[in-house]
Symmetry: D2
Subunit: 431 residues, 4 copies
């Protein structure tokens, strides 16, 4: 749930109309390389068709803003209320999640027309001055929601295309300088801990799960100055890491065995060595790049093998708010859509890559902060009801829209999920 | 496997080129009402996307005819050989059946281009005179195969659209006279049995599973003069037939319970009574129409409740070859794509609806005829390797192309399948 | 359903009381080597605990005879009516089959007391003269039923003990002469076919599924003069038979792959070569012995690899009734409980091992004979309701009580079952 | 992992020999009411047969103490090392957990003989003076381990007997005064929080997962002065609590639906109202008793419905160490084996029932404490490798041996587990 947000975080000086148009247009641009078939298919229950993302984000504005605040509201199509409801029990029934790929009607063109219709009606509503605080809050929530689905659209399409044995590309490989042969040396940066405050400070937008800001006591700890790389993770693979139970959580060991897993999700070994599937198709594995598409189990096992551990989310956030400059990083807007090697020129001992590139698994279970209260109404289902059996990831990724994340931002996925751009940074105790 | 077929059964005087063009064009017409999304989705493992049907039938001609007989053969796209191989182990690997809906590439346009390319090459090959007997045989097999996939395309699309809670229509309801209030009275037609011959007589095309023609001894039996209707089946439903184990095979009773089944696949009960999903969308249940979309278990349970039984395939075939005129019936070419009530004007005691309307479940397990030998090579996998745990259906349906079936034609599906246009005719012993 | 049986087949001159006592005592002898724990466990849904077999056979007499014919009937324990009902819907509810191993109460001692109680009451009832025909029929049915469970008790215990990694023995290996180094040469015995009659001829007991006797037309065929041996089947395994799809039914190929199967159920390969689990524990594989514990899929694949096929049940029965002397063979009463090599001294060209040693898979789906009518009442559920997706086996095995089988006897199991003593004899067409 | 423990917590003045004998004998007493069949069966993968518990606890001493410290060590039976290894990868292979109920050999008598043998050898070893510190530590760990399995033996037997439709009793209902008509009024007890220390203080035994002791910052909070009762939970059931998604975590809502759950595990409603299955068989539901056998999902849903929440484990532990007297409660030694109503005479505002009666779900995911290090060697697998997707329960239950728990004790189970004696105490924020 958004706090009051007179100046939205991501675009402080844009008017509501401009910001709305910009975020909505960005979603369409992501769908441009895709055919109607690409947009319709669903490769697993956890992922959704691109068309569904396009529709559901229109549904969000129509259901939570237009329905309550538009004069003479009439839905574009009353059946869409159920078809494109994700999980809001307060709104009513939902089409079964696992069958989103079977909704060949409405077709893509109709969904795009719906989006245009919602956009026109939203713009009319936003031009009424002044914007009611409740509408302003829901607007910002809707745009943040739209940005989350932009990232999901990319991760879901990547998974879908990976299921095609021809490994087709979503986009051409971006022109880029050759990657450095090795990542910069990793170092440990010490943090003293003690009583720190985490959670959102109230400046700009935040989801309800980032609140309330509260004190946490931390023991002294250290964080690695960059992300774990492909080269480092490959050493784990080559050392037989997937075959040695001592490295793994018991549940991870069983997960690995039952699914026949021996490397990150999109890695393959062929006659030419290791390659990986990217949104630009098959690419050789670049040693200096951060390893990506790991489950919590894999991240945890690697850390144990490396004599370290995953950070807690409080450790991560305390580090992210003490470091300067904090929010820069490699995000989706650069168009690469794949993590990049750590820069060579980071000031010594400063943690690099805290933001962007890959979401960093933390060892923290996703749980309510002390004093947490979900938002009133159906939007209160946004975050709170998922606070069990999920783990927190921090920092955003190369598929996250720039300006969307912040130090207090809490992403969360089940321990076995690995189709997100998820990787890790090592932590360790100070003894 | 085709027998030698100088004059193909379905179109005796057409040239090979004309017949090829006609059959191939019919497939395209069936796909015309469908969007690219409609063509791409797969609603269950047993069904295939329409695009896959379009592609696999091109694959058949390219793989089994062009590859062996075209000069300077080069595949349209070498990756299609695996992507669109259904189950021919002799040809090599196959894309997993359950994941056909994830093949968003090639897109529909590319598949249609491939079809055009194959058609052009086939026409060039067919214009070479004279056609080698092996090519003629494979050509006819390919066209019969194409017709089978025309029917599957319809049944698979029907299932897919039924999964959309809005029940969208494939086509507009055909203009038709109002159905009669009741089907003609059903009578029993006696057959004396004795030593009869079944199997294909060698005139025209037949699949290998229809051969060899052989003697079978039959006890005297009776067949109902028409199909079981919706009204009759509804009486079974209303009498609690789905709740009384005495009517059911033990496996059927468990099947019904585990899937929560209480009526035919596409029936629903709403405030206005019973309706059913058809290719023309939601329609009220028409009492005089044949009941359709039954599993073997349901057909068997109904027959037992009615004090009768299912016919054997030999009983059915003996009846179908003794009746005159035998091959007329309601097929897909009429465009209705839904079974029609039995005609009122059938000569008394003659079995009506033996051909067309609905496939009739027999009690016969799908097994090799005495002396059966599959065809040589990969096409020998067409039929023989499925001869276990399937039951034979006879007579064709309203979704079968006209001219495709014959009295000796053996269709087969597992006992739980009900997305085909499957219904039943009663049989009983003479005591 | 039993026919009238004034002189029961298995023991023509014994009085009803003596025969009852003898069959019931044989069941107890089979359980003697077993501990209460052995008797309580259930290793898979298809198998039952020995204690359950002991209880269910008591249930059969109490429910179908005592309840209707005993004066002042009172059940031993009214809860047992549900606990030990196998599948008779006409009797009422059943304890779930998969949870039979969880019935630790009643304990084994109580079940044995129940058996004693039922036996005493049955003996009192049987001493009333004369026995009503209905009681005589149910008595014989109950004893035949008891004998079927004697065999199942052995196959189920064998499966259970095989799940223990220590492979404990049910009994000590019987003293026996060393097996011959090789089985006698196999030959083909020709049968002319034509119009033959199969089914029970009405002399002595038969199950309802063996009736009515009826004519069948057979093409000429040949049967192998003995069963397929371990040596022959091992040649199939060593030739890569489990890895070549051309030998397999499509469903068998998938069955094999999904379950990781590469040899018969109880075979293992260790440092000393091939061994197999028997009721006498681990034993080296004896080349001359019949191969046993095959599924239908495996029997069918072997036959295809060998250039032959499985016989139909009519072919088997016609051969079994034409050969002399027909019912001798190696049955459970010899105490070996494992198939033995074919005798060397069979008259040339006569089929040996038709009865006993291993049940022989036929290619015939288990279906009603023409004119079949199940028995009235709940015992009518004995056979008829299983007539789908099962295949017929003929001839009895080394675990079948002597005198229990006959030429018309139809055993049936699903195609994937292989914990029964099931093997095969080859057949082929005469061309 | 045990800390050094010269004077074990549970029995400070007993000699090692006496303490060993007492704990081991207590296990046998728990198995006394059980038949060999009762001891052999396994009702679900998560539960183990009583015989397995008896064997595995012998295995622990033989494997971790005798093998390393006994002169001329020889295992009782070398095959038991694999058969009764629970999950120690460091020791080697394990028999599959789901198949423990199939180990009918060794039988119960043999397992009891093994226990006697291990006990005699352990006593000889313990009489050697002085005990090496490593042995002393492993001894205490083994005894604590034995006590954990005493509780599991009871919960597993309860589950097994509940699967028998006759609901047989493990023991006779204990003679007891009639329960009070209502529990004492519940009150809220305020705790100020701030910087508190949790984790084991080093006095006496503790598992490694209770260490290291460390500071935690808590916001002010309140705890209910007693456990939630059957009467209170029944009000939630009757109010439709299982049918209203707003009360539930999303995963809990799905869990409930997929398993058809509408009340606590052992509750049933019959013609006489609500009853529950207990170790003394079927008993009427006692309103004043604590509700028990809840999953985390149910405990969480109830708390939300009641306008409260679950406590964190730190809140619980801080309260448990501030209250006096802390460790008294209703444990297994009283022989009731079912939770009892809260006493009426607790000093006002003091939390009652913190120890014993039911394990209290906390909202805390089971995670390593800051600085946690598992023990070296295979016993290091005892706790640490389970630290994912489990939730912490505190305080012990009516099935926990007296003296086994302490304020820092961390029990843990997956969110869906409810066959343990698990209930809840409400907590809430101070605003």
């Amino acid at each position: 749930m958004p706090l009051d947000a007179p100046e939205p975080a991501g675009a402080p000086h844009a008017s509501a109309c401009q910001r709305y148009a910009a975020v909505r247009a960005a979603t369409l641009r992501l769908a441009e390389p895709l055919s109607p078939e690409d947009c319709g298919a669903q490769s697993m229950t956890e992922a959704s068709p691109a068309k569904w993302h396009l529709a559901h984000t229109a549904w969000f504005f129509e259901t939570f803003i237009l329905e309550a605040h538009e004069e003479d509201f009439a839905p574009f199509d009353p059946e869409f209320r159920v078809l494109f409801n994700s999980y809001y029990q307060g709104v009513g029934a939902q089409h079964p999640r696992a069958q989103r790929g079977l909704l060949t009607r409405p077709d893509l063109a109709t969904v795009l027309t719906w989006r245009d219709d919602v956009d026109a009606r939203m713009q009319r509503l936003l031009q009424r001055e002044p914007l009611a605080p409740e509408v302003a809050g829901l607007l910002e929530l809707g745009l943040q929601h739209e940005q989350q689905h932009q990232e999901l659209l990319l991760t879901d399409i990547k998974h879908l295309l990976s299921c095609n044995p021809t490994w087709p590309a979503y986009q051409a490989p971006p022109a880029a300088p050759p990657p450095p042969p090795a990542a910069p040396l990793v170092r440990w940066r010490r943090f003293e801990g003690g009583l720190v405050h985490i959670g959102h400070d109230g400046i700009g937008f935040a989801f309800d799960n980032e609140t309330p800001r509260h004190p946490v006591w931390l023991q002294p700890y250290e964080l690695a100055t960059r992300l774990v790389t492909n080269a480092e993770y490959l050493a784990f693979v080559m050392a037989g890491g997937y075959g040695e139970p001592a490295h793994w959580l018991a549940e991870g060991w069983d997960w690995r065995a039952s699914q026949g897993i021996g490397h990150p999700l999109y890695w393959r070994q062929d006659g030419h060595g290791w390659c990986e599937f990217t949104l630009a198709g098959r690419q050789p594995l670049v040693p200096a790049q951060p390893v990506v598409h790991l489950s919590y189990y894999e991240a945890d096992a690697y850390a144990r093998w490396a004599g370290a551990r995953l950070p807690t989310e409080a450790e991560w956030e305390a580090a992210a708010t003490s470091a300067t400059p904090c929010l820069s990083g490699h995000f989706a807007d650069q168009g690469v859509l794949h993590p990049l090697p750590a820069p060579a020129d980071v000031p010594e001992g400063q943690p690099a890559q805290l933001f962007g590139d890959v979401w960093e698994w933390t060892q923290s279970s996703y749980a309510p902060y002390p004093g947490f209260t979900p938002a009133a109404g159906a939007v209160g289902e946004y975050n709170g009801k998922f606070m069990v059996n999920q783990y927190v990831l921090r920092g955003g990724s190369c598929a996250t829209p720039s300006g969307h994340v912040r130090a207090s931002y809490r992403n969360f996925f089940p321990a076995g999920a690995r189709w997100q751009f998820s990787g890790l940074r090592l932590a360790r105790d100070v003894r």
